[in-house]
Symmetry: C2
Subunit: 208 residues, 2 copies
């Protein structure tokens, strides 16, 4: 007699991460309110009851999704800036291209659009995201620009403004892709755009 292969397994440790992953996928696609917990559960391979075993309610699940997804992205980049030697425009390209790379493959990059959509409905979470991601990456790029100015490689501009000008286009293109991939007749390649954007940028930052 073969083992009667159980209809489900007990996997206490793996569940939370799987549920969060499923929730991220659906939240990022449909938004918080339009996502049904039944669907999250189904995608995670469990039932709704199980979701409530690990998360207090829908809102707490949402917060968990954001918190888990957001954190680890920036540390690598920050050390990269600390340790860099050589032309600052090279570092800028390194940062932009690796960012574009990650955007194309990591599921976590869907979080930008999600936060943009839900920020006003979750003010505390919005603040967390702004502090932990937006401001932090802005500072990262502002830092690179500042050093480039100090070294004489870039002309004197407001580093914080420049940081916005550096980050905004990439995020926007990514968000656009997510929102309008079905209807945009001429989709852009993220990495190609990053390259284009970078070229424009460094020439704009150089001395005249």
């Amino acid at each position: 007699m073969n083992t009667p292969l159980p209809r489900w397994q007990r996997r206490k440790d793996a569940r939370p991460a799987e549920i969060i992953q499923a929730a991220l996928t659906l939240f990022a696609d449909k938004g918080f309110a339009a996502t049904r917990l039944d669907d999250v559960a189904k995608l995670a391979g469990v039932t709704k009851g199980t979701v409530y075993l690990y998360f207090e309610n829908k809102e707490e699940l949402f917060k968990a999704v954001v918190r888990e997804t957001v954190v680890p992205a920036l540390e690598f980049a920050e050390t990269l800036v600390e340790e860099h030697q050589g032309a600052w425009s090279d570092l800028l390209w390194q940062l932009l291209s690796s960012w574009a790379e990650r955007m194309e493959h990591a599921t976590s990059s869907g979080i930008s659009r999600l936060m943009i959509a839900e920020a006003t409905n979750f003010p505390e979470l919005a603040r967390f995201y702004v502090d932990e991601v937006v401001v932090r990456s802005r500072r990262l790029f502002a830092d690179v620009i500042s050093r480039g100015i100090q070294s004489g490689e870039f002309r004197e501009v407001d580093p914080m403004m420049a940081a916005r000008a550096v980050t905004a286009p990439l995020v926007m293109i990514k968000v656009w892709k997510q929102s309008f991939s079905l209807c945009d007749t001429e989709p852009v390649d993220l990495k190609a755009f990053a390259r284009f954007h970078f070229d424009l940028l460094v020439q704009g930052l150089r001395h005249r």
Copy 2:
């Protein structure tokens, strides 16, 4: 005896526009799903029943909001491009600054964030928006860039890419402001950013 001042008035003609305006305000702030029709009605100074007198259901109201809000913005700009004489960078600045201006005052500019958030839930509407606004304004700017290249004012770049690089930052900053105005510790002035972005841009587009 004075007129007993009626508790409400019959204003068949004015209602649709008022309801749409109220709906736009709330949809743009909270999103489609999180907006209650009771609140739309209240903000429009009517009751829910009245909303259903003029719109078949919530989804149709949403479509009406987008369709009514989106259309008139671009015509002015398109004639401007047709009739322009002189430096193309001047026209570029004219377009960018007037756009930033409109973004700061017109309630209709909330539509970008709304469409980004809801596009995947309303594919047909997303296509309408992309055709009528996104692609159209992209073409507008691509046109200016192209002519600038032809006249020798700008170096040879892919006009469509450049158009994206021109439009994306402004839209992104606006969307950011809407989403994170409560938590961003250092809010940007849209017009100041537009100026900064423009300066970077034209230097990036010029011949080396």
